[in-house]
């Protein structure tokens, strides 16, 4: 290649990032996807929309979130670690960035209702939150198993005025909630927007969600400059669908920073998957030799997804980002270490990224390496589960 490649720009006209992406949806949803693409393109080019998006995230969502230097963890690991504090965003994770964008777009498209899928409930709570604020009605699809495991989050969504529908098909978890939301969307696409929760699904979702999340990376880049740190050696984030990772990578894709996405070992689409088509996108998927999708298994519900956003599949292919996997056993010690040393209890999802730092410090990460960790969410939602697990161990 002669001219240096530009990463994390727009996908091509077919919604492709390299070989990945696209729009593999039933005809009944094509019109909605096309309309959404047009609406998003227009809105994102409209200063008024962009300003409103930033304004809402500022006055309602708690942005900018700070960058915290994790001095004690740094000393402990011999690194210099900075955390982008998405745990401080409203509803407790980066998910709010995306839903604020999509609900504003919903209004702009003249629709009065949103539907969403959710696994553990984070995206569902965020969607219900943003919908409440705009007076949109909201229905959230959630695997029946997850509604039982996360009964409190179901109630939280209901408090926010949303209807939660348990999904009884398939493995009754996140993957099936996505299927069901897509199915339901078919029958209400006229007045309803499907507020997808990560950088996945058919075009324009992977691109749009990444754009909404890229505020994380842009803020962090500016904040690190202001702190005199400049470009970190490594930018690391956990990856479920990949939205928080995409959001922070976006701020550093065209720098020298090494980008690392940490998947759950039981849902490591890049490490253990193969290319395929699911949920409207061509990406890396965990599937059998016949193309049947397998269930992901992770201690953290938010990483319990057998796929990954297509742009990540591309970034891996292009060797621009590296994807690694962390097993369940390393997650809780990482959560404990960050809690004890820094007074921040991270989400189990986020703890995967911390676990990778612990594993690699002194190995692939030389002493003194500067690291920007995307602290994608807070652990309050996980505390009961962690307690059960630790009790079971002792």
């Amino acid at each position: 290649m002669n001219s240096p490649e530009v990463f994390m720009d727009k996908p091509d006209a077919s919604g492709r990032f390299g070989d990945f992406g696209g729009r593999f949806v039933p005809e009944a949803l094509m019109t909605a996807c096309l309309e959404l693409e047009t609406a998003f393109r227009e809105a994102w080019a409209d200063d008024a929309f962009v300003s409103e998006f930033h304004e809402v995230l500022h006055t309602f969502g708690g942005r900018p979130t700070p960058v915290t230097e994790l001095s004690r963890l740094s000393r402990h690991l011999g690194l210099r670690i900075f955390a982008k504090r998405e745990d401080l965003a409203h509803t407790g994770s980066h998910k709010i960035n995306n839903v604020v964008g999509q609900t504003l777009l919903t209004k702009r498209m003249g629709k009065s209702r949103v539907i969403a899928e959710t696994g553990a409930g984070q995206h569902g709570v965020a969607t219900a939150t943003a919908a409440a604020r705009l007076g949109l009605s909201c229905t959230v699809y959630m695997g029946e198993l997850d509604t039982q495991r996360q009964a409190l989050n179901v109630f939280r969504m209901e408090l926010l005025g949303a209807t939660v529908v348990p999904v009884t098909s398939g493995s009754r978890t996140l993957k099936d909630a996505v299927n069901e939301a897509m199915r339901e969307w078919v029958s209400c696409v006229e007045d309803t927007h499907y507020c997808l929760g990560s950088v996945m699904g058919p075009h324009p979702f992977p691109w749009m969600v990444r754009e909404f999340q890229s505020i994380i990376g842009r803020e962090a880049s500016r904040q690190l400059s202001e702190m005199g740190v400049g470009t970190p050696d490594v930018v690391v984030a956990c990856v479920g669908g990949g939205s928080n990772a995409a959001g922070i990578f976006a701020g550093f894709a065209n720098t020298d920073a090494r980008l690392v996405g940490v998947e759950a070992a039981g849902g490591a689409a890049i490490a253990t998957g193969s290319p395929g088509v699911l949920h409207g996108m061509r990406s890396m998927l965990i599937q059998d030799e016949f193309g049947q999708i397998e269930e992901a298994h992770s201690i953290s519900a938010g990483l319990d997804y057998p796929g990954i956003g297509p742009e990540h599949a591309f970034l891996a292919d292009a060797h621009r980002a590296h994807y690694v996997a962390i097993g369940d056993d390393d997650v809780i010690p990482a959560l404990q270490l960050l809690s004890e040393l820094e007074g921040i209890v991270p989400a189990l999802e986020t703890a995967h990224a911390v676990a990778w730092l612990i594993r690699e410090a002194g190995n692939s990460l030389a002493p003194g390496t500067s690291v920007l960790l995307n602290l994608s969410g807070r652990g309050d939602k996980d505390v009961a589960q962690v307690r059960e697990i630790l009790r079971g161990q002792s």
């Binding site: 077919s14 696209g22 039933p26 005809e27 199915r183 078919v186 088509v277 999708i293």
Partner: protein, 259 residues
């Protein structure tokens, strides 16, 4: 023109409204008997579902059928092995999701299907924009690629799809997944939109579950496709005779009507 379309156009020219039932391949050990029964009872073509773990446009009935088929170890290869033993005299149409074909390999999948008398393929999550490769794999093997038009499809798109579809144009009768049974539907409008831009046969599916609905649809289309209503009976243990009776009940209304 694909041989499927030749066959179906002939039916139309003969004044016959086509009836196309759907079966989930491998759902039971004797599934081929059901297919035969349908052919014997007057089905004009038969959709053979190849199960997929995540059937995005299917309702609970087809989902359950797919789960059962997968639990029984059904794969593209096993279905092809089964079909190799079948001779029903009417065209078979494969219906599945793209990932199943991708993993079989597009060329290889098309070849395997063609080999066992599959003359058309419906891949609901593969819109025209994404289907060039698949379509060309099919084209060289006389496998028609059948596309859907939905109530939400705008005019210009209808034109594109109607020109591209082969065999028939699948007019989705309702904005819903398969197996929904509400009364009102948009089948007439969708079929009319297709007819306005093309003379390809138009079959209505998704939203036809009873002979009455088929009778209502008959005047404005060239055939009807019935999936969930039949699969539900099979999930409940229907015999080949039940299938025959089911198909005949549709056959009767479709033939009786002078449209």
């Amino acid at each position: 023109m694909t041989s499927l379309e030749v066959t179906l156009r002939k039916l139309r020219e003969g004044g016959r409204r086509a009836f196309v039932p759907y079966f989930m391949a491998g759902m039971t050990g004797d599934w081929l008997r059901h297919v035969e029964a349908a052919a014997n009872a007057g089905a004009d073509a038969i959709e053979i579902g190849l199960p997929f773990s995540d059937p995005m446009i299917d309702g609970v009935i087809i989902q359950q059928a797919a789960e059962r088929a997968l639990e029984r170890g059904t794969t593209l290869a096993s279905v092809v092995r089964d079909l190799a033993t079948l001779d029903v005299g009417v065209p078979l149409l494969a219906m599945t999701y793209y990932n199943v074909l991708l993993h079989g390999g597009l060329e290889r999948s098309a070849a395997m299907l063609a080999q066992v008398n599959v003359r058309g393929a419906i891949v609901p999550d593969l819109p025209p924009e994404e289907s060039d490769e698949w379509a060309s794999a099919c084209a060289s093997r006389d496998v028609a690629t059948i596309y859907l038009v939905a109530p939400s499809t705008p005019k210009e798109r209808v034109t594109v799809i109607a020109q591209r579809t082969q065999g028939y144009c699948y007019a989705q009768g309702r904005m819903a997944v398969t197996g929904t049974t509400s009364e009102e539907g948009n089948g007439a409008a969708v079929a009319a939109a297709v007819r306005a831009v093309s003379d390809v046969p138009v079959y209505v599916g998704i939203g036809v579950s009873t002979p009455e609905q088929a009778a209502n649809a008959a005047p404005y289309c060239d055939g009807v496709i019935v999936g969930s209503a039949l699969v539900r009976r099979l999930l409940d243990g229907a015999t080949p005779e039940d299938v025959e009776n089911f198909v005949k009940s549709f056959r009767t209304v479709l033939d009786a009507k002078n449209n």
